[in-house]
Symmetry: C2
DNA sequence: GCCGGGTGTGAGAGCGTTCTCACCGCGTCG
DNA sequence: CGACGCGGTGAGAACGCTCTCACACCCGGC
């Protein structure tokens, strides 16, 4: 079936003004509810808006206000696996909840690979958004550079790699990992491995650093075979765990740098006949939903995600408001959540 | 640390024109590479653009062209679990690949719950995008109505619930499910259950319809206890499979309406000591990546996702181009991919 | 040498808003 | 009774771009 019809012309302020018997300026005042309008005029305008189904044209408005009331969450990820991470879903949920009763809209931009990153950068530079939250950064990402070059306010989720002066919000990954590992040490474990996150991401790096710091503090020697790199996915966690197990059969504990990976690790441990936590104690990271429901329930490091998404928005709004570039970082504390796995 | 600096004023066409010693019109022509410009002028303009780091202001441009060169992928999902579905990730990948070498940008808008749906609808109506692709529709979704009301071109991913006249692209879910179930029948199985998708989504509904059709065609009675509803997630698949198994212990095959659910089902079957495919044959749906890598590799129904994302974009661009509303539907064939599980 | 037909260019009118002013009427104060 | 203040209003200039014209120029053909 195929029907064709012309696009109906959208009404303008001018027409609303004419119908309401007032000037453009007054209609504009009503739309932006300025207090200086008589009730009579206000009612007339509202009626006209209703009658014409008037919707303000954002382009025209933005052109003069220089604001779009839109902020972008940019994901810089070569594949699309980031979507699958519950961590990401919680960030999105947190951000949109935080923005729910503001005027601001949230759009997600996915940039896989160089070309798309440039496209995203162009999109941002052309003035489509008032600010950008950048997430899932890898070491060689172009996006921070591309975006820092433009005057659009920018906040990173996660400490920048090169210590550049950009506002960011991050969890205390080092501290959390350290606490997790220390907990394993206090359980009397001595052959503690780690399934690390991708080492081209700060979160992966920092959690490994925390693990090492805890071991070093306890005077334990650094054994490279105790470290297996994962990619924050369940499948990657399984692979890393399997490798760890094959290289260090007498492993008695493992700190896994994310809960999805920990789920994969648990599966491998079970398949290998290891009891958790009796034979091998496991601590995860994130306190994802799955941590409470897996078997056994996962002891894990919780990040205050609400606080973090709140801080991301606050920092960004601050920057947008001030029109300047206050470079501020916020580090959020983590907490060990004890369940059955360690 | 805190530094503050004013936002630098962005250069305008006017300034580029002045620097290049030409008029605004000529600069505009160069920017939009119109052929009618002398090489000399072109070079001068390019140099000036370079020197000033000029980036065109999209709002101003859109105001007159009435195009934004942006299309939105709108996810209507009350929770954010859709992100976790590999199906969704593939859609996003497909769409951005398809748009990679066009001028068009893709933005994702997540709408959970009524308020956010209205916010998204407002965003669209205000003219931020040239078109909308709507995905993950539930029965009582407001978004199709909200969006159909505005003049913005719209394409649905998935047949609309109420048979309304909206262009859409869908896989042949009924046919695929029928083929899957028929395959199980041909293996000689007689107690074939199904883990259905959510029944407030057409994909869930249609796949159940296909399953039933195949059984009916084979003269098998409809047994309601053979149907367990899942939610397209792995956990949901596990739960549904467990229920199926407890109610029909002598089950010898199951058609699972999505691969993530099938993975959950496989896990439960294994835990219950059932061998796959010997005791229970399993067919999934989607041909997700995980289908090839799980144990045993999953026989599943493949959807031509490339074709579907391509069709989504084509239909949308067609509508945008024509300025009208050609209501066209496209149904894409599915194919059974035989692996080890059935 | 004059005219037609390209080809490159610029002037200027929008696009639909917001926002700064100036203005008008009215009540209040000196 | 005139000056003043103030709430409500409208005229008109932006905002930065595109696009339609009209014009100036140069070529070849008669």
């Amino acid at each position: 079936m195929t029907t064709t019809g012309a696009r109906p012309p959208t009404p303008t302020l001018e027409q609303v003004a004419a119908l309401a018997g007032v000037s453009r300026a007054t209609v504009s005042r009503v739309i932006n509810d300025s207090p200086r309008v008589s009730p009579a005029a206000r009612d007339a305008v509202h009626a006209a808006v209703e009658a014409l189904r008037y919707v303000p044209n954002r382009m025209a408005r933005s052109l003069v206000t220089r604001r779009t009331d839109t902020i972008a969450l940019v994901l810089s990820e070569s594949n699309t696996q980031i979507f699958a991470d519950p961590f990401f879903a919680r960030i999105v949920r947190g951000l949109s909840a935080r923005l729910a009763d503001t005027e601001l809209n949230l759009v997600l931009l996915a940039a896989r690979g160089g070309r798309e990153q440039e496209k995203v950068a162009r999109y941002v530079q052309q003035g489509h958004v008032d600010g950008v939250i950048l997430i899932s950064l890898h070491r060689d990402d172009l996006l921070p550079d591309l975006l820092a070059r433009s005057p659009v306010p920018l906040v990173l989720s996660g400490r920048p790699f090169d210590g550049r002066a950009v506002p960011y919000v991050d969890a205390d990954n080092v501290g959390g990992a350290e606490a997790a590992t220390t907990h394993l040490l206090q359980l009397g474990r001595s052959r503690i491995g780690t399934v690390a996150g991708p080492l081209d991401m700060v979160a992966g790096l920092d959690r490994l650093t925390g693990y090492r710091a805890a071991l070093a503090a306890a005077g334990a020697p650094a054994r490279p075979e105790l470290v297996a790199e994962g990619d924050f996915t369940e499948a990657g966690g399984s692979r890393a765990m399997a490798r760890l197990l094959s290289e260090v059969p007498d492993l008695d504990a493992v700190f896994v740098a994310s809960d999805p990976m920990a789920v994969g690790a648990l599966r491998v441990l079970r398949a290998a006949g290891r009891r958790v936590p009796d034979d091998v104690a496991v601590v995860g990271f994130d306190d994802a939903e799955v941590a409470a429901s897996c078997d056994p329930p996962l002891t894990t490091v919780a990040q205050p995600l609400e606080e973090m998404t709140g801080a991301l928005v606050d920092l960004l709004l601050e920057q947008i408001g001030s029109g300047g570039s206050a470079v501020e970082a916020r580090l959020c504390g983590t907490a060990l959540v004890r369940r059955a796995s360690a």
